[in-house]
């Protein structure tokens, strides 16, 4: 099997989907000719292969990029546009929230908007809070959107292919740190459905629900705890919307304990939704209080010691799990 970073897996999915369907095109800032001539990056080489009619470098104008996707998709194209960093999503958010997400509903189900918005996210790159700010909770709170946050390159490839083929608007969020960690990715053309969570590690004592970059943190913590005789089940959501309630609930009903782990700030983060779901529907099987491990309620600081303090780490997870187990 090939070893790819998340960025390379995304590129493979983009390339194969562009080969498969000529209605697929990509657009965004610096996605054709970029300032980084780095093959690890998700759109590297696409311009050379597909030409400027299908690989569209745009001016710095996120509202126009998003509107381009909305308009092109209702005409039958399958745009995959990129918002460079999650905080800049704000500038595109009117188009995404009030238009991409609502226009099908407003058409009474007559129109469809098969678009994908790729967004780079995550702390740990020393760029500070105007580049690093995880806002998946915003889009996961918006009916009409699907929201995907892969935690491995292999998932990214299969999920992005499905996202591109999906007839609904999909927000596809890629943590930049994963662009530098190669992992095995199947070479064939495969898709992964949007919806089902994936149990990345089965276990009996406690359920950890997580997504995106934090999957690795969860698995590392689970590995260490295993050696201490604590059996952790790691549920990788992969898609926040649709949300796989069944897998979450089944796991918690089995283990009786829940820890939710995400990098976004705590208050109002999507972890609240998971905790609420469990407190509503698996309450009777719960043996201990639920617990959330998240970033604290602050912007991402620049300086490395503070930035590292911000990002939830293995120790936080291990301690969190131990505290649940009492």
């Amino acid at each position: 099997m090939q070893n790819l970073t998340l960025g390379e897996a995304v590129k493979q999915a983009l390339r194969e989907e562009m080969l498969r369907d000529e209605n697929v095109f990509v657009a965004g800032e610096g996605i054709g000719v970029g300032i980084h001539n780095n093959p690890k990056l998700p759109t590297h080489g696409l311009l050379e292969e597909f030409g400027p009619e299908r690989v569209k470098d745009t001016p710095v104008s996120e509202a126009a990029i998003a509107g381009l996707a909305v308009g092109a998709s209702v005409m039958g194209l399958r745009p995959v546009v990129e918002i460079m960093f999650n905080p800049f999503f704000t500038i595109a958010s009117d188009q995404i929230i009030n238009h991409a997400a609502k226009l099908r509903y407003l058409s009474g189900g007559k129109s469809k908007f098969p678009l994908v918005v790729r967004i780079k996210t995550g702390a740990g790159i020393g760029a500070g809070c105007q580049h690093s700010h995880n806002l998946e909770a915003w889009v996961a709170h918006c009916p009409g959107l699907k929201v995907v946050m892969p935690g491995t390159p292999a998932d990214a490839k299969g999920l992005l292919k499905t996202a591109i083929r999906d007839d609904n608007p999909v927000i596809f969020i890629e943590d930049m740190i994963l662009n530098f960690i190669p992992m095995p990715v199947p070479e064939e053309d495969y898709t992964i459905p949007l919806g089902p969570a994936d149990i990345k590690k089965p276990g009996d004592d406690v359920t950890v629900v997580t997504w995106s970059k934090m999957l690795g943190t969860a698995l590392n913590a689970a590995g260490k705890l295993e050696q201490q005789g604590i059996s952790v089940e790691v549920v990788d959501l992969r898609t926040l919307a649709p949300l796989d309630e069944d897998t979450i609930l089944k796991s918690v009903r089995k283990t009786g304990r829940l820890l939710v782990l995400h990098e976004a700030t705590r208050t109002g983060g999507f972890g609240g939704e998971i905790a609420a779901l469990v407190a509503e529907k698996a309450f009777n099987q719960l043996k201990a209080p639920v617990k959330r491990i998240t970033a604290p309620d602050i912007p991402v600081p620049y300086s490395k010691p503070m930035e590292q303090f911000y990002i939830p780490n293995e120790d936080n997870v291990i301690n969190g799990i131990k505290s649940i187990l009492g």
Partner: protein, 317 residues
């Protein structure tokens, strides 16, 4: 495309009577829920631009949409039913007056986010270009909308890529309660095109023949691959922003002045002078239109309400 002036007159008259009925229903009955925004006085823009469009051409509309819809051939019955909130409306009652989409006639989006449709029009025009189809997009928006950031980003991109889109700015002198000079120092909004290396032209928006000519020229420019045009149609909103607006800020003399420039009366006078239209023929046109409006109301009135749970449908595919 052959210009049929009688059809232009008919189109404007249809919009006028349809919206007069909406106003009346909004003021005098409980049939219409929420705001009611009409375009009385501005009909020449919708009708003149609409007349140059083929079925495959696309319209992206805004909150003042009924004229755009009717001029593109939308069914008055389905519009009325949508406005009444009935299950038979264009969008099953999910949209109401503010967001009617009629994909059947390629009015693909009506957005009430001011300026929100402009980037979308860039997207639809991009699709035509990408698929090498010979159709254009018209995006209607107001003078106020041209102050939004979305206007700027969209026009820059459309111009850069030479996309087949006509930016039809209806300058009706007001943005909400603000007169044009209270919301921008630019004299002609068409001048904003300069910022994108795009042609910008000013047109008398109450002269439907000039509107038609200008739109035709812009369409030809689109189809020849030369790119978009910004057209500012100078016109006037006779009524308030919506029917609940007391127009406290709108001078009566100004309204009277513009009423004298009624686009419908102007074309009617021309057609009578040219001998193309007789009084009887006009009366027949009026009757047909009024009857169609009444039929639309009847249809809407007699149509069933959506079930409350229908709200759960039509969100995902």
């Amino acid at each position: 495309m052959h210009l049929n002036k009688l059809n232009l007159l008919r189109s404007m008259l249809q919009i006028r009577r349809f919206e007069e009925k909406l106003e009346q229903l909004s003021r005098e009955t409980e049939k219409i829920y929420g705001m009611m925004i009409v375009s009385t006085g501005q009909e020449a823009v919708a009708s003149g631009v609409g007349a140059v469009l083929d079925p495959a051409d696309v319209i992206i509309s805004n909150h003042r949409s009924h004229g755009h819809l009717l001029a593109k051939g939308a069914d008055p019955k389905l519009i009325m039913a949508e406005i009444f909130g009935k299950a038979t409306g264009y969008n099953k009652g999910k949209s109401g007056t503010l967001h009617i989409a009629a994909p059947e006639v390629n009015v693909l989006c009506t957005t009430t986010v001011v300026g929100g449709g402009i980037p979308i029009a860039v997207g639809t025009a991009f699709a035509s270009h990408y698929k090498q189809q010979k159709n254009v997009t018209v995006c209607f928006f107001g003078d106020g909308a041209s102050d939004e950031g979305s206007f700027h980003e969209a026009l820059n991109l459309a111009s850069l890529w030479n996309l087949p889109v006509i930016f039809a700015c209806e300058n009706n002198v007001y943005s909400g309660a603000q007169r044009v000079e209270e919301h921008s120092k630019v004299k002609n909004f068409a001048d904003r095109a300069i910022a994108y290396g795009m042609p910008g032209i000013v047109v008398d928006g109450n002269n439907v023949l000039e509107v038609y000519q200008s739109a035709m020229k812009a369409k030809e420019r689109c189809l020849s691959g030369e790119g978009p045009t910004l057209i500012e149609y100078k016109t006037y909103r006779w009524g308030g922003h919506s029917t609940h607006d007391q127009q406290s800020y709108q001078p009566q003399e100004e309204i009277e002045l513009w009423k004298k420039l009624c686009p419908i009366e102007q074309l009617k006078a021309t057609l009578i002078k040219e001998g193309v239209l007789g009084q009887e023929q006009y009366q027949q046109m009026e009757n047909e239109i009024k009857q169609a409006v009444e039929e639309a109301v009847k249809f809407a009135d007699e149509s069933p309400w959506p079930q409350p749970e229908d709200a759960m449908e039509d969100i995902y595919i």
